[in-house]
Symmetry: C2
Subunit: 238 residues, 2 copies
């Protein structure tokens, strides 16, 4: 079976968390919307009518007969299929709990540049974006990264992974968070991450994994840009 | 086993989605923070140090040895334990997908009154709240409710439930969404919900379920107020 990933073709965005899991799993997948006509196929599935159980928004994954939406839900599925999460219920729930906390951080990162409405341009909410980002960098990022630092420090199997002694999709996602924050807010992130050495070390370790390193060096990895979740607007990076 | 729910004692908030599932399941639970000294117990678990796998934020649920955080993750667990979700993988994933979409709507409802920072008072972001709420009511609520209306209309087992022919935790949560929107934005919601008769009918049906009706009439149901997610500020309700 070849997976079909549906996500906006121009950005990393939320789809990137799924791409990283697919790449680390080493499974065959098509990034549908990056092929000719693919975006139209994706929009058709969103419209409703085409399927009984339409997703609300990308990303979504076709896995045989299943069409799975919501990033964390897709990762829960892939984690179980490809050993990217523990098999036991307790570890599975904990991995998903961490992923949902990462998803909250992703939502907040998005809203730094779109605090008023996704339907408006950044330029039409820049003043509000400055206020929101100041709080995000002063309070929210340190709280989230401090939390993940604590989780790593308290992991009885060692501080190399968020869950137990093996890589999970939550580690891949935390890698992406650090990458995104560094791109969007290089100055603030350099300052904040000094206090979270385990999070930074995890990021570096994930980046060196053979399949992830190959992916990051390939054209499959879309560069960060100012259409995605993590955007670099210098005026927001104090 | 008696469950222990940890959530802020003054509000419905995100904890309410868990309370509704516990009530419908008819299981014994303690709403810990509503007991004397309970909030301190809750904060201690959040601090880290007390447990190896600390939650990032309330709500969280103690279920025997498990401490489960993140609303949708708690519901996934309770759904499997108490027949509030299908047993088969496809139905389980679909129920969770819907719940995560509801969670996105909850986040957006929160941000209507706190578009800049949770750490600031509403009064310090009222101007931004007006702009954000205008978009929320004009674009976002109709899109979300339209989506759930479509899901109900396309359900091959009938339009009485979101998933198959039986109640799931996603139905309970959609009930709560309608209740919250009606409280926070009575004028706008009255206008919007006319176009979503299946969603409204689902709300009414859930409210009439014996255990839910008994819960809603009890003191265990905390009234809506201006500390929770759904707040009624008349100036935001066009």
């Amino acid at each position: 079976m070849r997976y079909e990933l549906y996500y906006w073709p121009e950005i990393q965005g939320r789809g990137e968390f799924v791409r990283l899991a697919l790449e680390e799993a080493g499974v065959a997948y098509v990034d549908v919307a990056r092929r000719p006509g693919g975006t139209a196929s994706m929009l058709k599935l969103l419209d409703g009518g085409a399927v009984d159980r339409p997703p609300y928004a990308p990303p979504f994954l076709r896995a045989g007969k299943l069409l799975i939406g919501q990033t964390a839900n897709i990762l829960s599925y892939l984690g179980a299929q490809h050993g990217l999460a523990p098999a036991a219920a307790a570890g599975r729930l904990w991995t998903q709990q961490l992923q949902l906390t990462i998803a909250d951080l992703v939502d907040e990162a998005h809203d730094t540049h779109h605090p008023i409405a996704s339907s408006l341009y950044y330029e039409d909410q820049r003043k509000e974006a400055k206020r929101r980002t100041a709080d995000f960098l002063a309070n929210r990022v340190p709280k989230y990264l401090g939390y993940f630092e604590d989780v790593l420090a308290h992991n009885r199997a060692g501080d190399k992974h968020l869950v137990g002694g093996r890589l999970t999709y939550a580690d891949l996602s935390l890698f992406q968070i650090v990458a995104g924050l560094r791109y969007a807010f290089p100055r603030a992130t350099a300052r904040i991450e000094r206090r979270h050495p385990r999070v930074v070390a995890l990021h570096e370790r994930v980046a060196r994994r053979p399949r992830i390193a190959a992916y990051l060096a390939s054209k499959r990895r879309i560069p960060f840009n100012e259409m995605g979740i993590f955007r670099h607007y210098p005026e927001l990076d104090r």
